[in-house]
Symmetry: C2
Subunit: 395 residues, 2 copies
C-alpha cells in the first residue's frame, strides 16, 4: 500500500524509491490503452495478463522517464521504506523442484548414508506444494504440529526440527494451454520474473510422512516469498551458463537449450535470535550461496519438465528452484539440515547460543542481488524474505 | 450455460430439470440481499463466499417453490439436457488423499509384494495435486508423454499405462485461517459439497518418478470432476458410519468425530471403446464400488488432517478421497491397476476386445447416487464424470 492511497498499487522499485504506476498512468505517461485497474490492484496478476509486450512497453517508458530531466510527476515516486507491501501474486499452482546439485547430494548423504547420494531419477524431480499457504515476506510463521516419531512411537506435537529452504521462484505471467508442453526456448514468453522463496520445512513431520506420496504436512504450513518480483527483462544482463552448462549426461532433447541458463545471483541468509534482538545485535550472516553454482537444473528446464506431460500453466503459477546450496555445506547451504548436518554440528553463534534448527523467536532474512557496486556493474536487488518463528498454538 | 442466456448461470438440479437461480433472484424469490452477480457467474465460488446460512436459505426457498402449486416462474426451470455445463469451481488447492483401505492394500500388494501391504504411515497420507489441470466432465484427455523405463532405460514417450482413479472430492465453500487447524466437528461449516473425481494417472511415468517426492507428472496432466456439486445438506439423510467406524487402532484425538462419517454412495465405472461406439454398443459397467465400504478415512478426517499443521484453506479447494475400491479387486476397483492386477489379467470385453489399461478412443463414465428408487428412498444423483482418451501429440 502506498501511504495515503486508498487502494493497493502496482509499483516498480528504483533504488530507494518506487514508481507508482497508477499515478503515472493517470498522467498519461504509460500506454493509455491499458485498463487502469491493472495498476490499482492488490496483486500483479492483472499486469501479467497484459503479456510481455506490455511489460516491456512499461519498462521502457519508466526508463525514459527516470532518465529525463523533468523526472517523474509529483506523487509518482514514493520512498520504498514508506510502503506496506502485500503478497505480490495471487498464486495459481506452486510446484517445487529439487534442482540443486549440492543440496540433493547432501540430503542423500544424510538420509540414505548407505546408498548412492543421488537416486537415478533425481534429475527429474519436483512436487506440488500448497498454493494457498504462500505468504508475503514479514508474515509470522507459526510452528506447526504434526505426527512425529518420539521414543519410537508417532506422537502429534509441535515440530522439533523446523527448518528453512533457500530457493528462487519463477512466476508465470502468461499461462499455457492444457495438453501443450511449453518448449524450453519459449519459457521466457511465459515467465514474468523471479522472487526469493523460503519454503519452511518441518523435518520430523516430513520424515514420517514422505514415503510414498512425498512431502505434505511437513511443507504445507507456510512458504514465504519476497514482495518484489524481479522481471526477467531486468535480469537479462546477468544470465550466465553456470553449473547447468556442465550437465552430464546431456539432458533429454526437450530439456536442451542454447540460452544462458541462470542469473548470476548472490544469496545470503541471516539469523537474528530473540536474545540478539534484546542485546541490539544485528542479524548475522549464516550462509552465502552462489545460485548459479548451486543449480544443476535451470528454471527454464524445470518449467519445460513440469509441462512435458501437457500440464497447463496459469498466470500466478510459482515454480520453486529447490533448495540452493553451495559445495561447502557448513557455510553455503540453504537449509539447517545441511548447515548443521542433520543437527549433529550446531551453529555456534557469537553470543554463545547454539542452533541445530529454528527456535521460537528466531528471525530469518534471505537476501539476493545481481551485479556489484564495487566494480561498476549496476545492481539489481531482490526483495528480502523475512520470517519470525511464532510458538505453536495451544490446542 | 443456459440456452439463450448470454452469461453463465448458477443452477440447481431437480430431477431432469435445473432451476436458474439468476431468474428466481430477478423475480424476488431468493433473498434480495444477495448480490445478483453471485448467480450470473461462471463458477460457484461467489456463492461459496456467502456462507452456509445463505446456502441453506436458498435451498429452503427452492424446496418451497418446487412444492408450491404455482411452481417456478417462466424461465426459472430449464431442461438439464439443454445445458452446456462448465467447470463448476475455480479450484484453489487440490489435495488428494489415500483413504481407501482396499485400494491401499491392493497397491501395496502389487508394488511391494515382499513387504506388508500397508506402510506404517499409510493412515496419514495425502499429497498436493495440480489445481490448474482440474477439468470439467466431458473434456478430452490427451495421452501424456513422460519419462518411462523401456528395456531398462528411461525414454521420453507416450504413457503405455494410462489409468483412471475413481474418487469423491469435497469442495471447500468457506476457507479457514492460516495457522488455525479446522476442528473435525467443524468441517461441515467449511465444506460446501461433493463431486465425483477421475484422477487420471500414468502408471509408468509415476513408477519412475515417485521416490522420494511423490507423484508429479504421472498425475498432473488432468483430473476430471463432475459439473454438478452435491451439497452436504442434500447428502445429510444418507450419511452412515461405514468402514470408518471400524478404525483400529482408534485415530489420534484430532481425527475423532461423533458424527456419521460417509455418504452411502453407490459408484459405477462404465467403459465404451471406439469399436463399441461404431457398433452402437452402449457403455459397459466394469466396476461397482460402495463408497462407504471403500473408505477407511472419512472426508472430514482428511480435511482435519490436511489442516492439522495450520495450513489454511480457501473457497474452491478440492480434497480428493483417494481411490475408492471394494474388497473384490476384479469387480469393485477404482483403477485398472487393480481391476487387471497390474495388467496381468486383462478385462475381457463381450466384443472380444481386451483392456489392461486405457487405449486411445476409450471413453470412461463414472456415476454415483445415494438412495434407491426401488425401496422408496428419494435418490440424489451425482453428475457423471466423462472423459475420452485422445492420442498423444506428435512432438
Amino acid at each position: 500500500m502506498v501511504p495515503g492511497a486508498e487502494v493497493a498499487r502496482v509499483v516498480v522499485a528504483f533504488e530507494d524509491d518506487a514508481a507508482d504506476l497508477a499515478v503515472l498512468h493517470q498522467h498519461g505517461l504509460i500506454d493509455a490503452q491499458i485498463d487502469p485497474a491493472v495498476f490499482s490492484a492488490r496483486c500483479l496478476n492483472g499486469l501479467f495478463e497484459q503479456g510481455p509486450d506490455v511489460w516491456r512497453t512499461i519498462r521502457r517508458a519508466l526508463q525514459e522517464l527516470l532518465a529525463s530531466p523533468q523526472g517523474l510527476p509529483r506523487g509518482g515516486l514514493v520512498a520504498r521504506s514508506s510502503l506496506d507491501m502485500l503478497l505480490p501474486v495471487a498464486i495459481g499452482d506452486f510446484v517445487d523442484g529439487y534442482g540443486g546439485l549440492h543440496h540433493a547430494t547432501n540430503m542423500g548423504r544424510i538420509l540414505r548414508p548407505d546408498s548412492p547420494a543421488l537416486l537415478p531419477n533425481w534429475r527429474h524431480l519436483a512436487y506440488h506444494g500448497r498454493a494457498g499457504t504462500v505468504v508475503r515476506s514479514g508474515s509470522g510463521i507459526v510452528r506447526p504440529r504434526g505426527q512425529i516419531v518420539v521414543d519410537g512411537a508417532p506422537s502429534f506435537e509441535p515440530t522439533r526440527r523446523l527448518d528453512m529452504e533457500l530457493e528462487v521462484g519463477c512466476v508465470v505471467g502468461v499461462g499455457s494451454e492444457l495438453g501443450v508442453p511449453v518448449d524450453i526456448e519459449d519459457v521466457a514468453d511465459h515467465v514474468f520474473g523471479l522472487v526469493l522463496v523460503n519454503d519452511w520445512s518441518a523435518r520430523d513431520i516430513q520424515a514420517f510422512e514422505y514415503q510414498p506420496l512425498g512431502p505434505f504436512l511437513g511443507k504445507s504450513f507456510a512458504t514465504s516469498i519476497s514482495s518484489w518480483v524481479v522481471s526477467l527483462d531486468a535480469l537479462e544482463p546477468y544470465l550466465v551458463p553456470g553449473l547447468v552448462a556442465t550437465q552430464d549426461p546431456p539432458p533429454s532433447p526437450y530439456l536442451r537449450s542454447a540460452l544462458p541458463a541462470v542469473p548470476d545471483l548472490h544469496l545470503e541468509v541471516l539469523l537474528q535470535t530473540r536474545a540478539m534482538v534484546s542485546a541490539g545485535t544485528p542479524a548475522l550472516v549464516i550462509s552465502r550461496v552462489e545460485f548459479a553454482e548451486a543449480m544443476y537444473w535451470s528454471m527454464a528446464q524445470q518449467v519445460a519438465h513440469a509441462t512435458a506431460n501437457g500440464a497447463g500453466t496459469r498466470p500466478g503459477d510459482l515454480f520453486g528452484s529447490g533448495t540452493a546450496s553451495g559445495a561447502d555445506a557448513r557455510r553455503q547451504a540453504g537449509s539447517f539440515m545441511e548447515l548443521t548436518w542433520d543437527g549433529t554440528r550446531p551453529l555456534e553463534l557469537p553470543n554463545g547460543e547454539r542452533r541445530c534448527f529454528l527456535e521460537d523467536g528466531d528471525t530469518l532474512v534471505m537476501q539476493g542481488w545481481c551485479g556489484s557496486e564495487d566494480n561498476g556493474v549496476p545492481m539489481v536487488s531482490f526483495g528480502d524474505v523475512i520470517g519470525s518463528i511464532v510458538p505453536a498454538r495451544q490446542n
